[in-house]
């Protein structure tokens, strides 16, 4: 912390007994001055007034057993709802007997991603690019079916956390390359390419995501030749990808701007072409600088996937909302939303911790303090 808490002139070290031990810790951290003591008591009272009733509701009076609303206490949470509908929060309305396909696809992804985290993996980047090119068709084949004797499953039945992950995954894998291209375009010396990139980036960043999604769901069908229809999920994916690539472009641009001019000149002096220079010299350094920013964009994207609820898809939030409208569980909205919030929180919090870790790791190389 940069802010010194005490006037240094007034510093006289007290005896040891007043500096260590739990009582000294309490005095120093909670009751150092009269207003700090007051503040501590106020916060304790606030916590008492909010957390205790919440704890009573969520744990003490709650029930996990039971099979319907009638089995639940009136003053406690009804976690039976979550227990019974758990699979719907995960898979939405995906047919029960076909769910192994979703799990299989995620298992394949996890196994395929292991080499990326091995410490001495040769050609890591090429492997990652290959994975990005090969995996989506495989996953789509498993999810949608309709070949190799797999039962076809309409995208309208995809839902829950599964759909959230699909949208976030597609958004993340398309927004990074698109964002890099847009950032390069914005920094380009060619006026036509620069202005096209600037117009796209500023246009998209200037409007809310709902308007983009709305436009994707209303305008995309109009853009296509008469008679061609386009899947609702695909419309949402196009909207989300375009939206996040504009934000990604600005993050990458920050990294590009931080690379000293000498790096460009040195690369050109070596006779590298524009793309060789970017691929081998500039981008590896620039992207490394902005990893925290990229992860933050991913977090934003992950949270924003919940907006597809508005255009009628049932992602984790949409599913939680759908379940609250079920007459059999009416009046149990708090449990449903709390569970969905927990699902989103786990992923976003995990990503933000990762970004902080990378930030610290990068900082050790550059700063010494």
């Amino acid at each position: 912390m940069a802010v010194p808490s005490q006037h240094p002139a007034a510093e006289v070290r007290p005896p040891v007994s007043e500096r260590i031990g739990p009582l000294a810790w309490l005095k120093h951290n909670l009751f150092s001055t009269w207003y700090n003591s007051l503040l501590t008591l106020l916060v304790l009272w606030l916590l008492w007034a909010t957390l205790v009733p919440f704890f009573e509701w969520a744990v003490l009076n709650a029930s996990l057993a039971g099979s319907s609303k009638a089995d639940c206490p009136s003053d406690g949470a009804c976690w039976a709802l979550i227990r019974i509908r758990f699979h719907q929060y995960l898979f939405g309305l995906y047919p029960v007997e076909e769910r192994w396909r979703v799990l299989l696809a995620f298992a394949i992804l996890v196994v395929a991603m292991v080499p990326l985290f091995l410490p001495r993996m040769p050609r890591r980047i090429s492997y990652a690019i290959g994975l990005i090119l090969v995996y989506p068709p495989v996953a789509y084949g498993l999810f949608a079916g309709g070949w190799f004797g797999l039962e076809p499953v309409e995208t309208a039945n995809w839902g829950g956390l599964f759909l959230t992950l699909v949208i976030a995954g597609v958004g993340i894998t398309t927004s990074l390359p698109l964002g890099i291209l847009l950032a390069l375009g914005r920094r380009s010396s060619m006026p036509v390419i620069r202005s096209l990139s600037v117009v796209f980036i500023e246009l998209v960043r200037g409007v809310p995501l709902v308007t983009i999604l709305f436009m994707a769901s209303v305008m995309l069908p109009l853009f296509l030749p008469p008679g061609v229809s386009i899947d609702k999920l695909l419309r949402a994916l196009v909207g989300v990808s375009l939206f996040s690539s504009a934000y990604m472009a600005e993050v990458v641009r920050g990294g590009l701007q931080a690379i000293p001019k000498g790096q460009y000149e040195a690369a050109q002096a070596l006779g590298l072409s524009y793309w060789q220079m970017m691929r081998l010299v500039i981008l590896p350094q620039a992207l490394r600088l902005v990893i925290p920013g990229i992860v933050n964009t991913f977090i934003g994207l992950f949270k924003d996937t919940s907006l597809v609820t508005i255009i009628g898809l049932y992602d984790l939030l949409g599913m939680a909302k759908l379940i609250t409208t079920d007459p059999a569980w009416l009046g149990r909205a708090a449990e449903s939303y709390l569970f969905a919030a927990f699902g989103f929180w786990i992923f976003c919090f995990g990503m933000s911790r990762y970004s902080q870790y990378v930030e610290r790791k990068l900082a050790t190389g550059r700063e010494r303090d």
Binding site: A2, V3, H7, M219, I299, A333, S352
Partner: protein, 395 residues
């Protein structure tokens, strides 16, 4: 040495397809052609589709009767007004909810951000927990919880929560007394205007004197006194020309007073709680960006802790805080479009209704995008102006 005594290798002219400038022009022409062809293709398809659907293009529909009600209107509006008026009502609702939320989010964000840096362990931890929980849950989910769970769980009008004299909270919204201005109130407004001008002049004079002689003047305290006393005195002297109409509790409804709809309350609560968690982190980063040396230098000059904060730290921290703060305000304004999910009649919601009624999708989307873009450009223009004003003047 004589010129040209060493034979220079003769420069071979570059083939034109290897010339960087020619290549750049060619690449740009190709990209431009592709973009134009793509746009032309899309426009052609759109026109064909619209013709097939029998939708006539143009903005003429704006001047026809809207025929739908809007639950919250800041200006006169009912279903006999035009679509253009409906757009305006929606836009004002967006401004209204954004402004109220921005004020609350800023206050809450500063409190949490400073609490995060508190030397009090408990306060710092509670602030950190607030930030980590709120920031990592989607805003839309929070809005839905505020609306359907928190406000939806409030009692019926007859069992209203009484927050104070004439302040009732129930499932229909928050009811507050309505101020009724009687003739003579305009003098109080005039007095307020005079007080503001006087304080500005006073501050200018005090600053000039301070710079010339070094004598400080308690501008804040005197200014506050003028700002409060002058209008209050005028108000009392003109015979208190202001009364309140209190809401009255009925069995099923509340009559009289001003009402804030639950949709509005949920929007304000959701937007400000969510944005405050981001503002708190910005404030923390801003205060931390002022190095310890600045505090120590100020103390060695004999400034007190309060003076150090006010004269040294906050001006420098603000320079770091304001730019990201402005973009949070912009985000908040754009996020207010999520009101569509809980039925708050903001601009986007009204636009959606109009689109459903008229089928003028292209025009409605164009208007919507133009409005949000204008807002963004205005806010970023302000940000650039402020940055220029606050930028470090290096000598």
């Amino acid at each position: 040495m004589a010129r040209d005594s060493v034979a220079r290798p003769r420069r071979r002219p570059t083939a034109f397809w290897n010339d960087a400038r020619v290549r750049a022009i060619f690449a740009q022409l190709v990209v431009l052609a592709l973009v134009l062809a793509g746009a032309a293709y899309l426009i052609r398809n759109t026109l064909l589709n619209l013709e097939r659907l029998g939708v006539s293009t143009g903005f003429g529909f704006l001047w026809t009767t809207a025929g739908f009600d809007i639950s919250q209107t800041l200006i006169a509006y009912d279903r006999t007004y035009t679509y253009a008026r409906a757009f305006l009502v929606g836009l004002l609702n967006t401004f209204y909810v954004s402004l109220v939320s921005i004020v609350i989010a800023t206050i809450l964000g500063f409190i949490v951000g400073i609490a995060r840096l508190s030397s009090n362990w408990l306060v710092a931890k509670v602030a950190a927990a607030y930030i980590e929980i709120i920031r990592n849950v989607p805003l839309l989910l929070q809005l839905i919880v505020w609306y359907f769970v928190v406000l939806g769980g409030l009692p019926a009008p007859r069992n209203s929560v009484v927050l104070g004299e004439g302040l009732y909270l129930n499932v229909r919204g928050l009811f507050v007394p309505r101020p009724v201005f009687e003739p003579g109130f305009e003098y109080t407004l005039v007095a307020l205007g005079v007080a503001v001008v006087a304080v500005v002049l006073l501050a200018r004079w005090a600053r000039r004197r301070f710079e010339a002689t070094g004598q400080p003047f308690p501008t804040f305290r005197v200014g506050l006194a003028i700002l409060v006393l002058l209008p209050v005195a005028t108000f009392l002297l003109t015979g208190r020309p202001l009364t309140f109409e209190y809401p009255e509790l009925g069995k099923f409804r509340v009559t009289g007073g001003l009402v804030m709809l639950p949709e509005f309350l949920a929007m304000v609560a959701g937007l400000s709680v969510y944005t405050a968690s981001f503002i708190a982190e910005i404030v923390r980063a801003g205060i931390e960006s002022v190095s310890k040396g600045q505090w120590e230098a100020a103390w060695s000059l004999g400034l007190t802790r309060g003076q150090t904060l006010r004269l040294i730290v906050i001006p420098q921290a603000l320079r770091v805080i304001i730019p990201p703060q402005t973009s949070q305000y912009l985000n908040l304004t754009k996020n207010s479009s999520l009101g569509v999910a809980i039925g708050y009649p903001d601009f986007f919601n009204v636009a959606g209704t109009i689109n459903n009624q008229t089928g003028q999708a292209v025009e409605v989307i164009a208007i919507t995008m133009a409005v949000y873009l204008t807002l963004s450009l205005l806010i970023s223009a302000f940000m650039n102006w402020y940055n220029r004003r606050m930028a470090l003047v290096e000598r």
